[in-house]
């Protein structure tokens, strides 16, 4: 394999790319892999949004609302983390 180090961020100004093509079976695995984790991640995203929206009619003071909105965002971030993880391409 020809291996030439990329300059810069490796996107815009290197002259020759290097690397292998992943075998087709692996691509199939990538597109389906981690389905349960993906589903859990998206459910957490939706749940987080539910917490945020429910905060508005259920709570009246600004600090309470702020606390629950931040909690909802934290749930969303956990969900996003799971979705990101479930979509990682296995390397090596």
């Amino acid at each position: 394999m020809i291996k030439i180090e990329a300059r810069g961020a490796g996107r815009g100004n290197s002259l020759v790319p290097y690397g292998h093509i992943l075998p087709p079976r692996r691509f199939w695995a990538i597109s389906w892999g981690g389905l349960e984790m993906k589903l859990a991640g998206f459910l957490l995203l939706l749940s987080g949004w539910g917490i945020v929206v429910a905060t508005l009619p259920l709570l009246s003071s600004l600090p309470m609302r702020a606390g629950f909105v931040l909690a909802g965002l934290a749930v969303e971030l956990m969900g996003l983390g799971l979705v990101v993880r479930s979509n990682l391409v296995p390397k090596g």
Partner: protein, 433 residues
């Protein structure tokens, strides 16, 4: 329902002129997406840009506007806890009953027809070189016909997000006059969904743990695209401020200054960061920095003082360089056009910058909360919705071109002819497969 806000003749005329600049942003995005892809798919990316713009315009006019509506127009409300939440517009399909003149609703329609096209073009940057033309058009139907109008109604057509101020005392409610959330973050999240659904380009991530550099084929095209986008953004931010924030025509000066300063600070910061990290400024990353500055200005240009616009842009320049790096190398998200970093992350930063640096909402803490609720809606509802709908499309009509097509290049495989027939050698023909 409140009476439709009326525009003075001067405001309406100025608005038309500004809106007619917006397609230049589309020209810019198309050039950037094309330049950052490989030469073997250049014509495909450009044609896809035209096609999704066309599909978006038609679908939005037929269906989308009836969900989005305009301020002061009929809408469905849901009473929750004694407060009327405005969820969705109640306009007839095919623009029936809307007289196309210089009225506020007509101008909203015109601006939105262009804006939805911009939002639809953003995912092309992430899906370049492997996303089928037909699939990108089908995905655009859902974006322009449902997702975009729904969220845009909440933000721009007196929907519940914009009413957070009047209903719950959260500053001015969720603020975004130039489309940082509706156009940029929505397009960016759609790009993220497509990057995940499509998977990386063949050869991007090796089985040995390496990440391949797949270079942009025409950085000059990318940089010219940035200049076109600048002109388009001036129109977009200014027209949005007049239509959705009821700014006077004189506010256009401040908005134009802030838009330019934000982009300028962002491109310079991106160039400096890449110079410090890699010993030379990286042209494509600097271009992404310029675009991120424009994206940030969409949320904040009408509210910031010029010094704050410089600061917001400078932060965007740093953010975009590191975000592209993290997405590509750590999170293995193959986004040839940098669409996710520029539009999603840049847009989210812009929405926060409004609360951080501006006096929107009188600098109240409630404004912070309103911006956070808007961001939570984008991440918690729009991302799963966009991903889910595109995933369903993919079960019926696969998004990704087959291996032969990717190897040949999308130009030859889907269009039957290359963009540059004189240059037929691909650099990766010299690598082992």
């Amino acid at each position: 329902m409140a009476a439709p806000p009326s525009l003075s003749e001067t405001s309406a005329t100025l608005c038309v002129v500004l809106i007619l600049l917006v397609p230049l942003a589309g020209v810019g995005l198309a050039l950037i997406n094309t330049g950052l892809a490989r030469s073997r798919s250049a014509a495909h990316v450009m044609l896809a840009s035209l096609c999704v713009f066309a599909v978006a315009a038609i679908v939005y006019v037929m269906i989308g506007f009836s969900w989005q509506g305009a301020p002061g127009r009929p809408a469905h409300v849901l009473v929750i806890g004694g407060k009327a939440w405005n969820w969705i517009a109640a306009e007839p399909f095919f623009l029936r009953g809307l007289r196309l003149d210089l009225s506020s609703a007509s101008l909203v329609l015109l601006l939105q027809m262009f804006s939805v096209g911009l939002a639809a073009m953003i995912p092309l940057g992430a899906g370049a070189e492997r996303w089928k033309l037909g699939a990108s058009c089908i995905s655009t139907i859902l974006l322009a016909g449902w997702t975009y109008p729904l969220f845009a109604h909440w933000v721009w057509s007196e929907g519940w997000l914009s009413q957070l101020g009047s209903l719950y005392g959260l500053g001015q409610g969720f603020v975004d006059v130039g489309g940082a959330s509706t156009i940029q973050v929505m397009g960016g999240l759609s790009a993220l969904s497509m990057a995940w659904i499509l998977g990386p380009r063949r050869g991007k991530y090796s089985s040995e743990g390496g990440t391949s550099a797949i270079p942009a084929h025409n950085v000059v095209q990318v940089l010219i695209g940035c200049l076109f986008a600048w002109a388009g953004w001036l129109g977009l931010n200014s027209a949005g401020a007049i239509l959705f924030n009821h700014c006077e025509p004189s506010a256009v000066v401040l908005i134009a200054v802030n838009t330019t300063l934000s982009a300028a600070a962002s491109v310079l910061t991106a160039a400096i960061v890449t110079k410090l990290r890699f010993a030379r400024p990286d042209a494509s990353l600097a271009a992404n920095g310029w675009m991120a500055g424009l994206v940030v200005s969409s949320a904040a240009a009408a509210f910031l003082k010029p010094a704050a616009a410089v600061l917001a842009g400078a932060v965007a320049g740093v953010l975009v360089v590191y975000a592209i790096d993290i997405l590509e190398f750590r999170l293995t998200i193959d986004d040839p056009g940098g669409a996710i970093s520029v539009h999603a992350i840049g847009g989210l930063w812009g929405l926060l910058a409004v609360a951080l640096f501006s006096d929107a909402g009188g600098g109240s803490r409630g404004q912070w909360l309103a911006q956070l609720i808007g961001i939570a809606t984008l991440l918690g509802l729009i991302l799963p919705l966009t991903y889910g709908l595109n995933w369903l499309i993919g079960r019926v009509y696969p998004h990704r071109v087959d291996a032969d097509g990717e190897w040949q290049g999308m130009d030859l495989y889907e269009l039957g002819a290359g963009a540059y027939p004189e240059f037929v050698v691909h650099s990766d023909e010299f690598t082992q497969h």
